[in-house]
């Protein structure tokens, strides 16, 4: 096992992600209506809720794939997408945004592996192209990562030659190759056959045990209950309820939460 995921010990007190009144709208449609939350270091933070509740949008705001319209969003103490000088906000340049994203791994519902590259090439692409890592060294690290997700023997396969579960595990290895301090999971198992869900959740569980800070948008309540340290239930662009997963899932306080859970549990 490679130890690539240790969180920085010095900054332990600082929250990894902090949202203050985050708003996001597409034209007339307001998707996020003021989100306040805090994700601590090494925490597994689960976002649940019905589709359209804004949980994926919020996740995408964290690495600035979406721009927020109001409020403040911080990752590891730094404002996302902007820089504050005095009481003025300055938009970050593309290059600076890209630099921030290097520290945030993201795993997508539809995997989004690069189909013209083998599993190994997918994993070394960003370290070699972005961090200008030595190719041989990157390859060695990539093989260790593929080993860790149980796919060392598939290194030379193209994504179309892999099952959904295998593709998602390669996608996780690809994100880990940048040695991120935070991992975002956007419904990582929603596009998978039921029997392939377990292998992806196992990899995520392993990451959690090593202390990776993870924000997970998921419908896997079993995973949330077992691995999660915190859980937020979102609906209609607001946080309805939050707390420890076991409490929220077993003893929901709000009617809306109860109604949702009765359908998915």
């Amino acid at each position: 096992m490679t130890d690539l995921t240790k969180p920085p010990v010095t900054a332990a007190a600082r929250p990894m992600v902090k949202a203050e009144g985050v708003h996001k709208s597409y034209g007339q449609v307001e998707v996020l209506k003021g989100i306040d939350l805090e994700v601590k270091q090494s925490e597994v933070f689960c976002l649940v809720g019905p589709s359209g509740s804004g949980k994926s949008t919020f996740l995408r705001c964290i690495n600035h794939l979406e721009k927020i319209n109001a409020g403040r969003l911080y990752v590891d103490g730094d404002l996302v997408g902007y820089q504050q000088r005095g009481d003025r906000l300055y938009e970050l340049k593309d290059r600076e945004v890209a630099l921030k994203r290097q520290d945030i791994g993201m795993v997508f519902q539809r995997f989004n592996l690069f189909p013209h590259m083998t599993a190994l090439e997918n994993v070394i692409e960003a370290p070699v192209q972005v961090k200008k890592e030595n190719r041989a060294a990157a390859k060695e690290r990539a093989m260790a990562l593929l080993e860790r997700v149980g796919l060392a023997d598939k290194a030379g396969n193209y994504p179309t030659q892999l099952s959904g579960g295998q593709q998602q595990r390669v996608a996780i290895a690809r994100a880990l190759a940048m040695q991120p301090k935070l991992m975002l999971f956007d419904e990582p198992t929603s596009a998978l056959d039921p029997e392939l869900v377990g292998e992806v959740l196992d990899v995520m569980r392993g990451l959690a045990e090593e202390g990776m800070t993870m924000i997970v948008v998921t419908h896997e309540m079993g995973f949330a209950r077992e691995v999660g340290d915190a859980l937020v239930f979102m609906d209609g662009g607001v946080v309805v309820e939050s707390g420890h997963p076991r409490e929220v899932l077993t003893n929901p306080q709000h009617e809306r939460t109860r109604a949702f859970l009765s359908k998915v549990l």
Partner: protein, 320 residues
């Protein structure tokens, strides 16, 4: 005893089917008709003296014609190289969020796609009429270097400008279609890994867009090869003009054109083969397996090495 033995064997593996295939009398009738027509055509080609095969043969060895081939190849290759690079640039500009950039690209395509290539060729050849002198210097200020347009833009350059700038407009639309065919999630995944916009385009989007870009680009290249004959209007001697100059003298129009066409066919054939291999290259990862190349197929047929077996699709059982 024997019978029961055989029975136990066949129960392990069922017997291969040996059925009488369906007959297709209609197909055979069609084949017969085509065979007769082909024989008639061949007969006409050989025994009709008007084809003048000796003239065809002599024309094919004519020095002007052979030189014309090189001019045609030069024009085609250079125009396509400039056209493709310009097309990628214009396509990226058109897809840019900046309205000035996308508007400029739109305007360029509007002009160059909307006017006849013939007009554009004549225009570049007569650039000296509009600007007798071209100079490099500070815009609206002093110039450091000045030269007559007719010296700066000789006929070959005018032909190249006409063909390449026109081609860029068409390639821009082809490349744009290719870029738009790539799933947005690809660029998102690349951005999420911290890749810059330029790197995402170069490493992730364009290689995948190539699958959509290549077939029409092959078409464009073949069209270009034949469109080079339009430069006859500005009196540049390439393959067609070389032929034209001969039959203008000898009036043996058809045999000369046959000779020229044979060369065009040869060149397009080579291009078609090239296109096949380029398409194959960019199909990596798109198909689960690549079909064997024609050469590999011929080898397999000749009993040499078998065509490479497709890489098996991974099975779930083989994980650690």
């Amino acid at each position: 005893m024997n019978k029961t033995d055989q029975g136990s064997v066949t129960s392990g593996r069922s017997e291969a089917i040996k059925a009488v295939p369906v007959r297709h009398p209609g197909r055979w009738a069609g084949v017969a008709v085509i065979a007769v027509l082909a024989a008639m055509l061949l007969h006409a080609l050989i025994y009709n003296p008007a084809f003048m095969w000796d003239v065809v043969w002599r024309t094919m060895q004519d020095q002007t014609v052979l030189h014309g081939i090189w001019v045609t190849i030069e024009l085609t290759v250079l125009s396509m190289v400039i056209g493709v690079i310009g097309g990628v640039l214009l396509a990226v500009m058109r897809l840019s969020g900046n309205p000035v950039l996308s508007g400029t690209a739109w305007f360029y395509i509007w002009i160059f796609r909307g006017t006849p290539l013939l007009v554009q060729l004549v225009f570049w050849n007569n650039i000296g009429f509009l600007w007798p002198k071209l100079s490099i210097g500070i815009p609206f200020g002093p110039s450091f270097f000045s030269e007559s347009s007719n010296t700066l833009v000789p006929v070959f350059t005018a032909a190249l400008l006409g063909l390449a700038l026109n081609e860029a407009a068409y390639m821009a639309e082809i490349v744009r279609a290719g870029i738009q065919s790539v799933d947005e999630g690809q660029a998102e995944a690349a951005h999420a890994l911290g890749m810059s916009k330029a790197a995402t385009m170069r490493r992730i989007v364009l290689p995948q867009a190539m699958r959509v870009i290549i077939p029409p680009t092959g078409n464009e290249t073949i069209s270009m090869l034949k469109n080079t004959s339009l430069v006859q209007v500005i009196a540049l001697v390439e393959l067609f003009t070389a032929g034209h100059d001969i039959y203008a003298r000898t009036f043996q129009t058809v045999p000369v054109l046959i000779a020229v066409s044979i060369y065009y066919l040869l060149m397009t054939s080579v291009m078609t083969i090239g296109q096949y291999y380029i398409e194959r290259h960019y199909a990596r990862g798109a198909n689960r397996t690549l079909p064997p190349t024609p050469i590999q197929r011929v080898r397999a047929l000749l009993g040499g090495r078998p065509a490479p077996k497709a890489a098996p699709v991974s099975d779930e059982g083989s994980q650690a």
